[in-house]
């Protein structure tokens, strides 16, 4: 495996700083090195005060969301050399309270998301013909959304409107409308039909571009709007 030195420009901020700054590190990488691995190497070998957060290392948990060269990604599956730039800029997610360096407070995200009643599972569309075990009506799977917050960081409306519900929560509401699973749908529809709900989306669709998990939050929001319009016109069961 050939190795190469890459420069990392890393956003740094500690509580009490008047402003953030960037630190530069040089890391030796190979064809398989990911941004997360490079950051861990920096923390281990060069600067133990670098604060990063991760868990699964394989794009399932959503913990390592950050901005690499200006774009929201999961650092654990972002290959350094494939970025193609001699310097890699690493910054935390936008639109979230900054705790330290590359770690943001996901509390507000979860607060909003939980008001969408946390749809976590759904009927699996991948196994329609498979035999189910006795007593099981059909196969289920986990929802694709891993609550990583990349969509919320990328959204231009979240950037200016702190009360906008945001793509993650709105997409979650659509999933509840698709499969209520006992949740009351009308109050949720009222919640998203509000001034800072799904009508504040301006179809930038950047959320769907950055989503690492095939959630297509933009598409979900449009489907939600279509449903709301149908109900407003009396074309759908209300």
């Amino acid at each position: 495996m050939s190795e190469q030195k890459v420069t990392f420009r890393v956003f740094r901020y500690k509580q009490g700083d008047t402003a953030p700054h960037y630190d530069t590190f040089t890391v030796t990488v190979n064809e398989r090195t990911t941004v997360l691995e490079a950051l861990q190497a920096i923390r281990r070998d060069q600067d133990g005060t670098l604060v990063i957060r991760h868990s699964c290392h394989h794009a399932s948990c959503g913990t390592c969301g950050m901005r690499v060269n200006g774009k929201e990604v999961l650092a654990c599956v972002t290959n350094v050399l494939e970025l193609g730039t001699p310097t890699v800029t690493v910054e935390p997610l936008q639109n979230a309270p900054l705790i330290s360096d590359l770690v943001v407070d996901m509390g507000p995200f979860y607060e909003t998301f939980s008001q969408a009643h946390l749809p976590f599972v759904r009927r699996s569309e991948y196994l329609p013909d498979a035999e189910v075990a006795e007593g099981v009506p059909f196969h289920m799977r986990f929802e694709s959304c891993i609550e990583c917050g990349l969509c919320v960081s990328a959204c231009p409306v979240v950037a200016s409107d702190a009360e906008y519900l945001g793509p993650a929560a709105l997409a979650a509401v659509w999933r509840v409308v698709q499969e209520p699973r006992g949740t009351e749908v009308p109050p949720l529809l009222d919640w998203v039909n509000s001034e800072h709900g799904c009508w504040r989306c301006h179809v930038a669709l950047e959320c769907s571009e950055v989503c690492p998990s095939n959630v297509d939050p933009g598409g979900n929001i449009m489907a939600l709007r279509q449903e709301l319009v149908r109900r407003a016109l009396g074309l759908s069961r209300g």
Partner: protein, 133 residues
């Protein structure tokens, strides 16, 4: 505890500047930024246009003098820019309506380019109409 710590943690939000922060963003974001820019530009134009029309109330001499001015090359160039803004906002607006209702969501980029092709054709015809007459 969490409530207290959140107060000390600044939220990095770009505000309205985020609407135009298109670096590294994809087509939909750029289209949004341009729609917003052209929309605000057209509102400004509307205000100017309505104010200019008040010259009509001042009678033929005042109005006709303005009309002579409006035939100058500088004005005509501005008119072409205006037409470009109108065509972009109107045709991209059509896309926003369709996609916003869940139609063509997953082909929104093709829809964009198709409508922009139409806009370019109309702009060429329209500008030729301004400049040749």
């Amino acid at each position: 505890m969490l409530q207290e710590t959140r107060v000390l943690h600044p939220v990095r939000r770009r505000g309205w500047k985020g609407w135009f922060a298109v670096r590294k963003r994809h087509l939909g974001y750029v289209a949004f930024a341009l729609n917003r820019l052209t929309g605000l530009g057209l509102v400004l134009y509307l205000i100017i246009h309505l104010v200019v029309l008040s010259l009509l109330a001042r009678g033929p001499e005042t109005w006709d003098a303005f009309i002579e001015l409006a035939k100058s090359p500088a004005f005509l160039l501005l008119d072409v820019i205006l037409l470009a803004g109108i065509l972009f906002h109107g045709l991209n607006g059509l896309r926003v309506i369709l996609v916003g209702l869940g139609i063509g969501v997953h082909r929104h980029k093709e829809l964009f380019w198709g409508l922009m092709l139409l806009a370019a054709i109309l702009l060429i015809f329209g500008a030729w109409g301004f400049l040749v007459v």
